[in-house]
């Protein structure tokens, strides 16, 4: 059928910043396409570069927690856990075990909500809105639970250096168990809708493949890596928080399908399996949670004083829904604010995998492939075929010049306002 498609002359240059009514961090794709096929893919992130690390060097450690939380609104707890773990190691603060468990519980609830959110977005990218609505309808349950436990649906503000700020009390357990029951059922339904549907399979099987070898070299993390058969999961590899006491398994697609293909479908499989895994983990954590205090240093003012005296460097990590997040922190004595703070978000590690995934696929696959690593893209720049009529391939230098000019022009007009 290829021959009678109405083809565009080959080699025209397209920029896609998917204008999604759906989510996430703006990213722009630069593509060479022939007809509907992608010859070469490149991307330009940084649309939402807010200079968070730089801001962090101007705030004290407690303020940085909330800044870290707002690196990403999907995992409201990931970055704060990572950051405080680094600080705790530097200041040698021993966190109460109960606090570790609470951190892990919230972390797993977050994984459930994030994976459901992702499933919905992926379905929406496929034009499968009923599945999107279904996933998000189910997700509201965990959102309610999280709000009930933390007081906010997104940025939980649960984490404090040296522990957690709010308890999960015995009275709250039944409500949690009720949700877990709900998700047991919901999982079956979601798995059927997402894994058995013919059209989903048509769109996702063997689309956007990342092989094991590519994955090893490009170092993606989380479900993106695991769907390609890379067994990597901070919760398993690296004993921390409540997870240190559990025996957790790597979730790879072969557990369900018996094979690893590394395609979009496998990424769906991995995430669904992880939802199920998270339900079990929450139950285990609740069961094993010891009593005890919540904070090593209950008074924030005292904590600030102690941190002022701490010095050294450390790395804090957490397995976010999208994979490993890691914060490198360096403190110096006598300073309220960190002297160095490097954030590595999960998508940061996963971006590069887009290139092998996209090349050779079709324009129509861009949204689902882009979404399959669960980045945070939401692009509002619309496809702009570059310049007069779409047939010129611009060189990189030209493109750069053009964009500089354009940005300047617009900014001039902005400042003139």
């Amino acid at each position: 059928m290829k021959t009678i498609e109405v083809k565009k002359p080959s080699g025209y240059f397209t920029q896609i910043g998917p204008a999604h009514p759906a989510l996430k961090e703006p990213v722009m794709f630069n593509l060479d396409v022939e007809g509907e096929r992608i010859i070469k893919a490149d991307f330009a992130p940084g649309m939402s570069h807010r200079g968070i690390e730089w801001m962090g060097l101007r705030r004290n450690c407690i303020q940085v927690i909330y800044l870290a939380e707002r690196i990403c609104g999907i995992c409201g707890i990931t970055h704060s856990i990572s950051f405080v773990r680094a600080v705790e190691q530097i200041a040698q603060i021993q966190v109460p075990v109960r606090a570790h468990y609470i951190r892990s519980i919230v972390g797993e609830l977050e994984r459930i909500h994030s994976h459901l959110l992702w499933a919905g977005v992926a379905a929406h990218e496929l034009g499968f809105d009923s599945a999107f609505y279904l996933a998000w309808r189910v997700r509201e349950n965990v959102m309610d639970l999280v709000e009930y436990l933390t007081g906010n649906r997104v940025h939980y503000a649960m984490i404090q250096i040296g522990g957690v700020r709010r308890d999960i009390t015995r009275e709250q357990f039944p409500r949690i168990e009720e949700s877990m029951k709900f998700f047991d059922n919901a999982y079956d339904q979601l798995a059927r809708v997402f894994l058995d549907d013919t059209t989903v399979q048509m769109r996702c099987r063997d689309c956007g493949v990342l092989t094991y070898e590519e994955a090893r070299q490009l170092c993606p993390v989380g479900p993106t890596a695991r769907a390609s058969g890379i067994k990597k999961d901070v919760r398993v590899d690296h004993p921390y928080a409540g997870y240190a006491d559990l025996d957790i398994e790597y979730m790879t697609p072969d557990r369900l399908t018996g094979e690893v293909r590394g395609d979009v479908y496998d990424r769906i499989v991995v995430r669904l399996l992880e939802v199920k895994q998270s339900i079990a983990l929450v139950r285990q954590l609740l069961e094993q949670m010891p009593d005890g205090p919540l904070l090593a240093i209950p008074k924030p003012a005292v904590l600030l004083a102690k941190l002022k005296g701490a010095a050294g460097e450390a790395v804090g990590r957490h397995e976010a829904p999208r994979g490993e997040v890691m914060h490198y922190v360096r403190l110096e004595a006598g300073k309220d604010e960190p002297v160095s703070w490097k954030v590595k978000a999960s998508s940061y590690s996963n971006y590069l995998s887009w290139i092998p995934m996209m090349e050779g696929e079709q324009i129509a696959d861009i949204p689902i492939i882009a979404a399959s690593i669960d980045p945070c893209i939401s692009c509002t720049d619309r496809v702009a075929l570059v310049q007069d009529g779409n047939r010129r391939v611009l060189t990189k230098a030209e493109l750069h010049r053009l964009s500089v000019e354009k940005t300047r022009r617009i900014q001039a007009s902005l400042s003139a306002r």
Binding site: M1, K2, I4, E5, V6, K8, T14, P18, A19, H20, P21, A22, E36, A123, H124, E125, L126, G127, F128, D129, S130, A131, Y133, L134, R137, D197, T198, T199, V200, M202, R203, Q362, I363, A364, D365, I366, P367, R382, V383, A384, L385, G389, N390
Partner: protein, 335 residues
């Protein structure tokens, strides 16, 4: 045609245009409400499409700099006008005087007229000069090619059946209405017709650019595709033309496959006006049922196809099904 006839036809066409737009929007509203309900939502009020059109009419009508204005603005008008025109050829519920252009066109003409609204959208999309719209227009063209095969096979199969029985005007819808095709075939032909029915039900979403065949408009891929640059009145006209087209294709299916009238089935005897009213109501009900199964239910229960999959589905699956159906209808004569 005499002058009188022409005037009558013109008046009839205007009335038809009005009712088809109102009906089309009402259908669109029902479609949205049903879809919402199935997705466990309350959904908009049924009159929402009317409100949308009213809103679009007061909005600014932007013509992009790269567009060729008369083509860009003309395309929506052509789309709507041609969609309405098709209706003038389709008989409805055996109501006397309908279709207005009875005897002037037949199935093949309708099939080709069906191209026009889509073609107007393609022209408008291309005229917009925007890359998304261009991709969308190309995809629309490919989709049109794709569903043409099953559509053509179905129509030819019908005509063949009638012609082989020596019935005059095998391509006329009036012929089908007079003799429901199901009554003319044996079991083998019946199977064939079932296949053709399934095919046609799935040609509908393609004709209307609905999921899973909405690659030309795919919102998450190309942000509305064809229509990306349209706004205001032009967008309203395109929306209307799609609404009218919904009536057109569902009427076509009803006309081909379910031409029975309620009065005939129940053999009620009543005055002509009452009969017409009853039949019209029944006809609308049939349209709604067809729309529910071929548009609403389909569009919310599957994922969108890639454009090459659209072609594969229409040619390799539905095309083969339709040809098989045609073959069975032909083979039926041997038994």
């Amino acid at each position: 045609m005499s002058v009188n006839e022409i005037l009558l036809a013109a008046g009839g066409a205007l009335i038809m245009a009005f009712f088809s737009m109102v009906g089309g929007l009402w259908f669109a509203g029902i479609d949205r409400v049903l879809a919402a309900r199935m997705q466990a939502r309350i959904g908009p009020p049924v009159r929402q499409p009317f409100l949308d059109i009213a809103k679009l009419m007061i909005k600014q009508n932007v013509v992009p700099a790269n567009a060729i204005p008369w083509l860009f603005n003309g395309a929506p008008v052509v789309a709507l006008a041609s969609a309405v025109t098709i209706l003038l050829y389709i008989p409805m519920a055996g109501i006397p005087g309908l279709p207005i252009l009875q005897g002037h066109g037949d199935l093949v003409l309708i099939m080709y007229l069906l191209i026009l609204p889509a073609l107007a959208m393609v022209a408008g999309g291309l005229a917009a000069g925007s890359p998304y719209a261009t991709i969308g227009a190309q995809r629309e063209m490919v989709t049109m090619i794709a569903y043409e095969l099953p559509l053509a096979a179905t129509i030819i199969a019908f005509a063949w059946k009638f012609a082989s029985l020596g019935i005059e005007h095998p391509f006329s819808l009036a012929t089908v209405a007079a003799q429901p095709v199901w009554t003319l075939v044996g079991p083998v032909g019946f199977m064939g017709l079932l296949l053709l029915l399934v095919t046609m039900l799935l040609v509908v979403p393609g004709e209307l650019g609905r999921i899973p065949f909405d690659a030309p408009e795919a919102e998450t891929e190309i942000a509305g595709g064809l229509l990306v640059e349209y706004s205001g009145r032009n967008l309203a006209l395109f929306t209307l033309s799609l609404a009218v087209k919904t009536i057109v294709v569902t009427s076509l299916i009803v006309g081909l496959f379910f031409p029975w009238n309620l009065t005939d089935i129940l053999a009620v005897a009543c005055c002509a006006t009452t009969a017409a009213m009853i039949n019209l109501a029944f006809f609308i009900l049939k349209l709604l049922v067809v729309m529910f199964f071929s548009v609403t239910l389909v569009r919310i229960s599957v994922a969108r196809f890639r454009i090459n999959q659209v072609v594969d589905v229409y040619w390799k699956i539905l095309g083969v099904l339709a040809l098989l159906g045609m073959f069975l209808v032909m083979a039926d004569a041997l038994f």
